[in-house]
């Protein structure tokens, strides 16, 4: 390839990858310190793969804890770009922090691949030439779960959502997806956020006798809701539960019992095929646990970035963006992946998953059963909609 011929152009003689995420708060398990390890694995793999052919003289991985505080994220991102010479910042869960970092990327003309945040703003009104949205987003979650569950026969929905930006977004996306698939949403129940008491809301939803209750809660709120769903005995009444946003780490911490039969969309699952399992084994050696989709995505993002730099022989952001736009890739995380040029959404196959029965769990972290694969082309928001939402990278 073009990168094979030795020295390239590097701003300060090296490539610096910053991992900025939550190392102490609610996203610590989902991404956190293990994302840093995943990125380091990608660097090692790159070095191993290219050996002497590697054009990058030196790769440094730095990280910081943004504590889910956007102001910390903002300052840290600025510091990474300005002082520590970061060429790219990865991960950044929490929407507000992600948007702040995207802004910094734009003004510093450096890269940001967002993995941890779900907001479609990143590919909508707030999209910018230096930011790619990598793993998942609210549209994709709704589309996956809402559409597939409806098509599988549970057509009468009640949606319980937390009344803030994320939840409202999810409610809209779900409703659209459900209705497109021929289902109906009988009720939209907004709940406070954060909240630990869902009994009343569940009672209200159940009173309408739906086939399925869709919950858009996340994190601790989700666990509260799931426990109280169990206590209310709704499963016995034939009302199942679909979850908007759930991570394997949630199941891991609570066990499969409370989540029995719950369906949700996952961007990736470690045990979905041999390739993923092989990488998950490596990851396990490093960390002692199985990777979440975010860990795999961080690995993939770092890998794809280094690959692009290798190909171009330069860490110049515009060059790398130019290289990536429209590129189609396949790796352990990105299946049938593509860096969309129009809105910088990175699309790939995603999966409708069901939580396994306790009896079927054979080992730790063996929690999901892939019900179906949602092809990349259908999984994410169409380009037109991104543009309609205000994204304009067309210059």
């Amino acid at each position: 390839g073009p990168g094979g011929d030795g020295e390239g152009e590097f701003t300060d003689g090296k490539v610096v990858i910053g991992v900025l995420n939550d190392q102490s708060g609610v996203y610590k398990d989902l991404s956190g310190p293990n994302s840093v390890i995943a990125v380091e694995m990608a660097v090692a793999d790159y070095e191993e793969e290219y050996g002497d052919d590697a054009v990058i003289p030196e790769i440094e991985v730095i990280d910081a804890d943004h504590q889910n505080k956007p102001d910390v994220a903002n300052t840290k991102a600025q510091e990474m770009y300005e002082r520590q010479g970061a060429d790219i910042i990865l991960d950044v869960p929490t929407s507000s922090a992600a948007l702040a970092v995207a802004d910094q990327a734009n003004s510093h003309k450096k890269l940001h691949f967002n993995i941890g945040a779900a907001t479609t703003e990143l590919t909508g009104a707030q999209c910018n030439p230096y930011t790619f949205h990598y793993a998942y987003d609210t549209y994709q979650l709704a589309n996956g779960t809402g559409k597939t569950v409806t098509e599988n026969g549970d057509t009468n929905w009640q949606i319980i959502y937390p009344d803030y930006a994320f939840g409202q977004d999810m409610d809209k996306s779900f409703t659209a997806a459900i209705e497109a698939a021929g289902g109906t949403v009988g009720g939209h129940i907004a709940t406070p956020f954060p909240n630990d008491n869902f009994a009343t809301f569940l009672t209200k939803a159940a009173a309408e006798k739906p086939d399925v209750i869709g919950t858009m809660q996340a994190g601790g709120d989700l666990i509260n809701l799931v426990k109280q769903y169990g206590q209310a005995g709704l499963a016995d009444q034939g009302i199942s539960l679909a979850v908007g946003l759930m991570f394997i780490t949630d199941i891991h911490s609570l066990g499969v019992e409370p989540f029995k039969g719950v369906t949700f969309t996952d961007a990736w699952y470690w045990d979905m095929d041999d390739e993923s399992r092989a990488w998950a084994d490596e990851f396990m050696e490093e960390t002692g646990g199985r990777p979440s989709f975010a860990h795999a995505a961080n690995y993939s993002a770092a890998k794809q970035y280094l690959e692009a730099v290798q190909q171009e022989g330069s860490d110049d952001a515009d060059t790398v963006v130019g290289h990536l736009e429209g590129k189609e890739v396949d790796d352990v995380f990105l299946r049938d992946g593509k860096f969309r040029a129009e809105d910088h959404r990175v699309i790939h196959d995603v999966y409708l998953a069901k939580v396994k029965d306790a009896a079927d769990v054979t080992e730790e972290w063996d929690y999901e059963e892939i019900v179906s694969t949602i092809p990349a082309a259908e999984a994410f928001r169409p380009v037109e909609d991104s543009i309609a939402a205000g994204c304009n990278l067309g210059d």
Partner: protein, 354 residues
């Protein structure tokens, strides 16, 4: 407090502050001048020593802490809900900057005024109680503001926050794009805020304020409308907190829910206590320590910043109640063999009179 033991004619509600005696010092003015000079030098040099955005954070938090100390150290009222004003102003500042493109000093002033308007009803309801009651009530009201900010999506951006708040400064590009120069453009407003706090403390109002702190019923008998004084200082303090919060919003270019959450109220209390309650300027030192500490911890890979800040809090309250400023002033006073009596800094270890 007074509800707990309501048994005497004088249900006093001493704040944790105490011996702050607003002295009419003579001959000590050279010391004050030296201190002032040192402070100015530090303020000017800060962005050269510390990463400029962090220096700006320090300045904003320092003003925030001074605002809180005005209320706590001199009014004897511990507000655990000051984030409502810092954050409330931040949102208003952000909205004004985004929608009207005002130069940032103007936007910040609008934010500060908004914080004062917000402080009126909250203050009106809160100053009916004192001591711990006051702390809890303000905390609860701030939480209410938080819920509103969270839910009022269309205006506040909810969870995503207000993004892309512009820094307009009469077209001077260095200030608008470089955080180093922005610091110097914002500094006069910080200093203005601190000067206001100083003015208030050393005014007839300040004198009465301290009296209402020490013995409210008695102040009433002297014809002072205690609630009026408390509301006034509450509103002034909120305005200064708003000034700080607005600058913070501009310097970061966005506003998020983080600005109104209760941890922010807790953080400013920590800074104030660490610096020294009733010292007015202690908050500056407190802000330097805490902001730098958190900044370092964020990149240190240490998970669980609360373990450190919590420990700092506990240790300060247990062992250095006078805070950094108070402890140092105390030490200097002792070394000079002066009586500590009538010192103009520090918080009291006075016995709490039940």
């Amino acid at each position: 407090m007074s509800t707990h033991t309501a048994h005497s004619d004088a249900t006093t509600a001493p704040g944790p502050s105490g011996v702050e005696r607003v002295t009419h010092a003579t001959g000590r003015s050279w010391r004050h001048l030296a201190l002032l000079a040192a402070g100015l030098v530090l303020a000017l040099a800060l962005p050269r020593i510390i990463y400029p955005p962090v220096a700006m954070d320090i300045a904003a938090w320092a003003l925030f802490a001074v605002a809180l100390d005005l209320l706590l150290g001199f009014g004897g009222l511990l507000s655990f809900g000051h984030a409502a004003f810092w954050g409330g102003s931040a949102y208003v500042t952000g909205l004004v900057a985004i929608n009207y493109g005002l130069p940032f000093p103007l936007a910040v002033l609008v934010g500060a005024v908004a914080a004062m308007l917000l402080a009126l009803p909250i203050g009106y309801l809160s100053v009916r109680s004192t001591g711990i009651y006051f702390a809890m009530v303000t905390l609860a009201f701030a939480q209410m503001i938080y819920f509103i900010a969270n839910q009022w999506n269309d205006v506040t951006g909810g969870e995503n926050g207000l993004q892309s708040v512009p820094t307009n400064f009469f077209g001077i590009e260095a200030v608008e794009t470089d955080s180093f120069w922005f610091y110097y453009a914002a500094l006069p407003m910080i200093i203005l805020g601190m000067w206001i706090a100083w003015r208030v403390v050393h005014s007839p109002f300040g004198r009465v304020l301290v009296a209402t702190r020490d013995n409210a019923p008695r102040a009433r008998a002297l014809g002072y409308n205690v609630e009026g004084y408390r509301i006034t200082v509450f509103v002034i303090s909120a305005g200064l907190a708003g000034l700080a919060g607005g600058l913070f919003a501009i310097s970061h270019g966005f506003v998020s829910l983080q600005e109104v959450i209760w941890n922010t109220s807790g953080k400013v209390v920590l800074i104030t206590v660490l610096g020294g309650i009733g010292t007015l300027w202690g908050g500056i030192l407190g802000a330097i320590v805490i902001v730098v500490l958190e900044d370092q911890l964020a990149s240190s890979g240490f998970e669980g910043i609360g373990i450190i800040t919590g420990t700092v809090f506990v240790v300060v309250v247990l062992l250095f109640r006078r805070g950094i400023w108070g402890t140092v002033a105390d030490f200097l006073a002792r070394r000079k063999g002066r009586e500590v009596e009538g010192d103009d800094v520090g918080i009291a270890d006075e016995e709490h009179q039940p």
